[in-house]
Amino acid sequence: MINKIRNLDQETRHNLIHYSVLVVMMNIAVGAFLFFGFDRIYQMIIVLAAGVGYVLWGIIHHHVNDDLHSKVVVEYILVALLAELIIFSLILRA
């Protein structure tokens, strides 16, 4: 039981670090997007990097938690693709 709690603590701690990394990554992306206000090329690179970073984060996170599956990877890619597509359209229409 103590081992279980210890493991849970460790898992929670791991997850806390993982999610903190993701929050920092996304904060940097939003800040950089704002910083490069009217430079569309940079904005597109930033959004692309945020999407790729998010997919990589998902792969690493699930790999560490031993539940990495191709279906999960596809899910992260599709969520990223949807968001990227939307923002790219918006940047190109601006």
């Binding site: 999610y19 993701l22 929050v23 996304m26 904060n27 992306a29 939003v30 997007f33 704002l34 206000g37 009217f38 430079d39 569309r40 090329i41 959004v47 945020a50 998010y54 984060w57 998902g58 996170h61 539940d67 599956h69 279906k71 999960v72 596809v74 899910e75 992260y76 599709l78 969520v79 990223a80 693709l81 949807l82 968001a83 597509l85 939307i86 923002i87 359209s89 918006l90 940047i91 190109l92 229409r93 601006a94």
Partner: protein, 316 residues
């Protein structure tokens, strides 16, 4: 009741949808991507078929642009610019040329540079510069965007300039209703006491594109030109396609605003479903093989923030 249960299948994780809202299954994301692509395709087609409905036209007073430019110059101690009718005419002709030949660049597709418009109206310059902007809603936005770009800021704050001309023109660029702002700076020959034998002008280097939709990097490099190149040029008649008064025949919807609204609605819907899904999974302690709802929430929130921070308008 039966209808509610059926709807729940699409929005709430339960046994019938393998404990994941149907709308959050991978094929649903694929469906949403396809749907958004179709929407963009329809929007683009509509821009070609009915350009007067979709587009952008703003109310920007040239006087306000000049006022804001001088305010920025005053902050760094640069002399205030005075309005010159020749430069205003050159800016109008440049804008008219951009609409007539459908380009968004400093140089026209035929290779015509900005300085030819100065000479065309008989403005003999010692120094000259050009800033361009499109699709901004107000003059403050235009000047703020220029000030945020080092090369455009250099033009605005350059103490060598003495005069200014600004044109705000509505027209159609690459099939889209657009409001262009052309800002011309100049110092006429004879204005500076110790005029050099050779003229130095900031040379705008820009890629040429007919269907321009991207912001392009502009670099300003001093370029020396022979005084003879400023020879008298016959002034051609006024470009016919330019300068309709702003405000009349304004398009009803901006493609940018439409895309922004649809994008927000779409991502907010997905985010709501992810949140509901995450809460139910957490409360019922459902173990399943899927992406983390919290991770999706963080990512989607960041993307929604980016959409909200996106501003219309481009500078060159």
């Amino acid at each position: 009741m039966d209808l509610l249960r059926r709807c729940g299948h699409f929005f709430v994780p339960r046994e019938s949808n393998n404990f994941r809202a149907r709308f959050l299954h991978n094929h649903s994301f694929g469906f949403l991507i396809s749907l958004f692509l179709i929407f963009q395709l329809i929007l683009s087609s509509f821009l070609i078929i009915e350009p007067s409905v979709l587009g952008f036209a703003a109310q920007i007073a040239p006087e306000r642009i000049i006022e804001l430019t001088n305010q920025e110059r005053a902050k760094v101690g640069a002399p205030a610019l005075t309005l010159n009718s020749g430069l205003t005419e050159a800016a109008l002709r440049k804008g008219g040329d951009m609409f007539a030949f459908d380009y968004w660049a400093h140089n026209s597709p035929s290779g015509r540079d900005p300085w030819s418009f100065f000479l065309e109206v008989g403005y003999r310059y010692l120094y000259a510069g050009e800033n361009l902007a499109r699709d901004f809603a107000n003059p403050e936005g235009v000047v703020a965007a220029w000030m945020a770009s080092p090369t455009h800021r250099d033009n605005i704050l350059n103490p060598k300039y003495r005069e200014i001309g600004v044109a705000v023109i509505d027209g159609t660029l690459a099939g889209v209703e657009t409001t262009l702002v052309v800002q011309h700076f100049g110092t006429p020959v004879g204005e500076v006491a110790q005029a050099p034998e050779r003229t130095i002008i900031p040379q705008a280097e820009a890629k040429m594109s007919v269907e321009e939709v991207e912001a392009e990097e502009i670099t300003l490099e001093p370029v020396e030109i022979e005084p003879e190149t400023r020879a008298e040029v016959a002034i051609p008649p006024v470009v016919p396609s330019m300068a309709q008064a702003t405000g009349e025949g304004k398009p009803l919807v901006s493609p940018f605003s439409l895309t922004q609204t649809v994008s927000l609605m779409l991502l907010l819907t997905v985010l709501s479903l992810v949140l509901v899904d995450g809460l139910i999974v957490y409360k019922r302690k459902i173990i399943r093989l899927s992406g983390r709802p919290l991770a999706h929430t963080i990512f989607l929130l960041a993307m929604i923030l980016i959409i909200l921070l996106s501003r219309q308008g481009a500078i060159l």
